[in-house]
Symmetry: C2
Subunit: 244 residues, 2 copies
Amino acid sequence: MTNYRFEISYDGTRYYGWERQPGKDTIQGKLEAVLSRMTDTEAEIIGAGRTDAGVHARAMIANAHLETALSPEEILAYMNRYLPDDISVNRVGIVSDRFHARYNAAGKLYTYTCYAGASKPVFNRKYVTVLDSVPDIAAMRKAAAHLVGEHDFKAFCSNPKMKKSTVRTVDTIEIIKRKDFIYFDFHGDGFLQNMVRIITGTLLEVGFGRMEPNQVREILEKKDRRLAGPTAPPQGLCLMKVDY
Amino acid sequence: MTNYRFEISYDGTRYYGWERQPGKDTIQGKLEAVLSRMTDTEAEIIGAGRTDAGVHARAMIANAHLETALSPEEILAYMNRYLPDDISVNRVGIVSDRFHARYNAAGKLYTYTCYAGASKPVFNRKYVTVLDSVPDIAAMRKAAAHLVGEHDFKAFCSNPKMKKSTVRTVDTIEIIKRKDFIYFDFHGDGFLQNMVRIITGTLLEVGFGRMEPNQVREILEKKDRRLAGPTAPPQGLCLMKVDY
């Protein structure tokens, strides 16, 4: 068995997220079906993270232990031939047997993209969230500053029964406006379930004046999901990079 | 009645082209339906050109004579609210009564985009044509040079019964390779039916060594559609700009 590392892009629009689920189209499910066919055994692929239904990835990293005579280039060609056209394998490489895409992930970069303009984002309408007006960028940056650093992000987690630690370190939150698009870049050591979307939803509340920037600190301290903003819709979110 | 000028973007994937056709979804049809609703009369919109089924536009120009109390900004907001999310109005302005989007068009820029890489163009898969391998760019440029200038492009027109002149001037054909994408930029005073797609299909024949660059000159001279290459598929084509 050889351990292979994959870099994968996908348009998550029509999928029930990364994680394999019986009877449902998922990214992991599609990848495992192709790898199983290729190796004629039941293949398992481990992703760096589990993206939600409707969320995209430019460079998800995954690994799989496989028995095959094919070279990495041949595996790449085989997978791209049999995968649907909304999932692409960009790289395949051989890694140490001990490499684990999830446990070894040291950091992740997510980008949440919004559009706020008079026209409509025709060509990337599946990858952005359309806003009715332009939020206050300076206010959102102030609010975001409270979230940077090591914190207990329990208030920004959609799983109320989370038993493991909800402490995470967010290194940077950058909010950039370029033409009619607003990009929220989140880099951190890991993110809880829906955390990026709940933070984005909360920052937008601040951006639209429905919440004060300082309230974000209070939400963190009170650790209560109900105090944070709504979960921003999935289509604006994309996993950009995984660090090892 | 006031004459309005529109700049429109659309993803042509699910449309039977620009031109209004009874019982079929077309760009002109969708626009006229919204304008008719807005003005409560039967509105007509004139486009700079008639794109084929499946072809896209970043900046189609159109005009319409309308009776409305709405300002250009309000017309834009109204149209974007009622148009489907694959059609966007980017600008609305008032122009001279004599402005005619088709007759006054002095030039057009079309881009045909191909992808030739080991992975797949997941996020713009609807806007590119995927090639199995990388064509010879230098050979295609040599072939394209024969087409630049004023020529009778009868061999590159899909309408065999074309009664009007098939003489057109193509100012530039630029072929650019950037990463795994190949862009064919065509600028000219006007293009015959399917002309850009037939030229692209012919250049790709040259690029894959199935035709010599010099043969293109012969095809022009013989004026026989059967000698030119196949019509490249519509999804790679986009109208980028119209000059006035």
